[in-house]
């Protein structure tokens, strides 16, 4: 059992940020599928599979796919947040398998926000 010290905490923080933060070079793009009970009930697992499938089919290496808990706007689930390096994240709502694949092609690969599926650009105010 690792007995952590403050130094260890700091190292973990640094390493984790390098692996998950686009700003620190973790990848070109990051897709977060929101999976609280609301999201899962609405079909978030299928959305996750759709994104993973697109990544495999396109042999993409520099895109991170991850999950988080509920994003807050439960009535518009399934939701996913797409962030390209150097740009503000975009929140997509009311997702379906078809929309997820379209977002992958147009936004993640093509750099163009898919306006008809998007709710907003930017992050929430935390702290």
């Amino acid at each position: 059992m690792a007995r952590l010290t403050l130094e260890d905490l700091k190292k973990i923080k640094q390493t984790s940020r390098r692996m998950t933060s686009l700003r620190e070079g973790a990848g070109r793009a990051k897709i977060t599928v929101h999976m609280g009970t609301c999201g899962i009930a609405a079909g978030a697992r299928e959305i996750m599979l759709a994104f993973l499938d697109e990544i495999e089919r396109n042999k993409v290496q520099d895109v991170i796919v991850t999950t988080s808990g509920c994003a807050g706007l439960c009535s518009r689930e399934p939701m996913a947040t797409v962030q390209l390096s150097g740009q503000a994240p975009v929140k997509y709502i009311d997702l379906t398998d078809e929309k997820a694949r379209r977002i992958f092609a147009q936004h993640v690969q093509g750099g163009q926000i898919v306006a008809d599926c998007a709710l907003a650009v930017g992050s929430e105010r935390t702290g």
Binding site: L4, T5, L73, G111, V121, T126
Partner: protein
């Protein structure tokens, strides 16, 4: 304008402001160029940010090294530095900004600080956002009494609904005699209110926030063991909690000698078995002990004698989740959020007749109107707002005239409701307030443990009277009995369940008495919810004679020839409402 939101500050926006101010003075521009700091505008991912006005030029991802060039080129020579500018894709931004959307703009995320940003099944991601640094600070640099004092100074009050000052509860538990037998900290994750899912969401999205809070609390109080009582109906939250605890143990953040400080502490999970009353803390503790989930008289309070008779500090999930950030950023910072008596934020589950259903966290003191209209987006289908129900079965209904009430513990209880754990159900004109009272009484009656007579018999009688009234069989005498029963049960029940069960009745009587009188004296339910009081008729002009209603009617009460207007025989009608539901020509009306 330099952004000084949390994210930008952590990316050195204060240093940038300093460099900017110095550089401006160096060029003698200080009388022409003012440097101001602004709050967060949501573009955190590309911060630190700066906007130059009146040019409207938006700079992003700045570093201190960029400043001399920026000042010389843009401020002195009037040539914006393209390399540092934010360039929106191709056309004008086709999508609104987060901060322009009411739902997000008014919220303030403290408890939900990691919302959407971490994978709750990866402890490293929690640490990456400063998780467990508060614990490190506490264990290495603070004495337990100092930690208690910090929580007292913050003004944090219990988020389970009653709003007892958290720091005070910690102090009482710390000072309680334990005879060397140990003390407990406990987390109430039973969340039984219908429509409430704040605690479920917190545990599903950020379980470590709760764990870190409990470890800090245990240190402050002198407890060596913790219990989390979580309702069994939350399988995902339970799983994520178990994973989080395993990962914390692997890192030595739970167990012996935490962070090398010599402090030992671990947590045990107990699952509920479906009883709402086990959200009441003494019943909860009985359940943990393996006994029947029934409350007991207090004193002695759990802080003196709790689980297995040991001093126990029990707090709600949301209360615990506030602790790490209070210790990290300080009581002073926390106490500047909220109102005079209610500090910090509150998480609400906004549900019912509302456009933006979801989980919201707002600073105390925000008005109900702002929550319902700005954040919630108002009532769907153009319907009229009628009331908002807060506090679940223990709470009350607040009518439209009181929408400008600030949300804090005192204002809500003065209005006859209570903050509660955070369930906020919006009701519109199609809601019958008598039926709402009946619904909540049916719930509490079902969940009453039966131990004390006032609750066991009192709620049964109140429900019986409400049933009579909604069936059109109530009398004014019944109304008097209902009201006096409500007051008596409130005074005499053994625990919070019974004591607050009459609240939905009392607030609906206070603000919607006319609806009760309509049901009793005029045998009318204006929302058409109480079907026994509805009269169904067919409007001749609209009826096409399609015969659908006649075919559906279970009593054969509708007659008419094909393509001729139909009629309903009231003597046969049992008011099931099927004809109303199936008519496609809006020909069936309720009178």
């Amino acid at each position: 304008m330099v952004c000084a939101g949390t994210a930008c500050v952590s990316n050195r926006s204060f240093q940038i402001r300093k460099a900017l101010t110095e550089e401006i003075e160096r060029h003698g521009l200080q009388h022409e160029v003012a440097v101001v700091t602004t709050g967060c505008n949501g573009f955190c991912a590309v911060g630190p940010l700066m906007v130059v006005q009146p040019d409207g030029v938006f700079y992003q991802q700045l570093t201190e090294e960029d400043i001399p060039l920026l000042v010389e080129e843009h401020l002195l020579k009037g040539r914006p530095v393209k390399r540092l500018m934010y360039t929106p894709p191709g056309e004008k931004l086709p999508v609104p900004r987060m901060n322009d959307i009411g739902f997000f703009q008014r919220q303030r995320l403290i408890v939900l600080r990691n919302r959407g940003l971490i994978d709750p099944e990866k402890i490293d991601e929690y640490i990456a956002r400063d998780g467990y640094f508060a614990l490190e600070k506490v264990l290495s640099r603070m004495k337990p009494e100092q930690v208690v004092q910090e929580v007292i100074d913050s003004g944090l009050r219990g988020r389970g609904g009653a709003g007892f000052p958290t720091g005070l509860k910690w102090r009482l538990t710390r000072r309680a005699q334990s005879n060397g037998d140990g003390k407990f900290v406990c987390c109430n994750a039973d969340e039984g209110d219908p429509g409430a899912f704040m605690d479920r969401s917190i545990i599903e999205s950020d379980p470590h926030a709760v764990l870190e809070g409990m470890i800090i609390g245990a240190y402050a109080i002198g407890a060596d063991q913790g219990h989390i009582y979580i309702r069994n109906e939350y399988p995902l939250a339970l799983r994520r909690l178990q994973i989080a605890m395993e990962q914390a143990r692997e890192y030595g953040l739970l167990g012996n000698d935490i962070l090398g400080s010599g402090f030992d502490f671990d947590i045990h999970i107990t699952r509920g078995a479906g009883a709402f009353v086990c959200g009441e803390e003494t019943a909860l503790m009985a359940s943990i002990e393996g006994r029947l989930g029934e409350p007991r008289p207090r004193p002695p309070f759990p802080t003196e004698k709790g689980i297995f008779g040991k001093p126990t500090n029990n707090n709600n999930v949301e209360t615990w989740a506030n602790v790490p950030i209070i210790l990290r950023r300080g009581a002073d910072w926390f106490s500047r959020i909220g109102t005079g008596t209610s500090k910090g934020t509150k998480v609400f589950s906004l549900v019912g007749k509302i456009n933006n259903t979801g989980l919201v966290e707002v600073p105390m003191g925000i008005t109900l109107r702002e929550i319902i209209y700005d954040i919630g987006g108002g009532i769907p289908d153009g319907k009229v707002f009628k009331a908002v129900q807060t506090g679940g079965p223990s709470g009350g209904c607040i009518p439209a005239e009181m929408l400008d009430l600030p949300v804090d513990y005192e204002s809500l209880s003065e209005a006859g409701s209570m903050m509660g754990s955070g369930g906020m159900v919006v009701l519109d004109e199609d809601t019958c307030m008598v039926d709402i009272a009946r619904y909540f009484l049916a719930f509490t009656q079902d969940e009453s443990c039966g131990k004390c007579t006032p609750c066991r018999e009192g709620t049964r009688m109140m429900l019986h009277i409400l049933d009579k009234i909604t069936r059109g069989q109530g009398t004014m005498e019944d109304l008097k009995t209902l009201e006096s029963l409500a007051h008596e049960v409130r005074e005499t029940a053994l625990c919070g369940l019974g004591k607050t069960a009459p609240n939905p009745v009392l607030t609906t009587l206070r603000y919607f008495r006319n609806e009760y009188e309509d049901h009793i004296l005029r045998k009318k339910c204006s929302a058409h919810v109480c079907r026994q009081l509805n009269t169904y008729t067919i409007i001749e002009e609209n009826c096409t004679g399609c015969t659908r209603c006649a075919r559906e009617c279970p009593e054969g009460a509708i007659s008419g020839d094909r393509k001729q207007p139909h009629t309903i025989d009231q003597s046969k009608c049992v008011k099931c409402g099927l004809c109303f539901d199936v008519c496609r020509f809006d020909a069936v009306r309720i009178v």
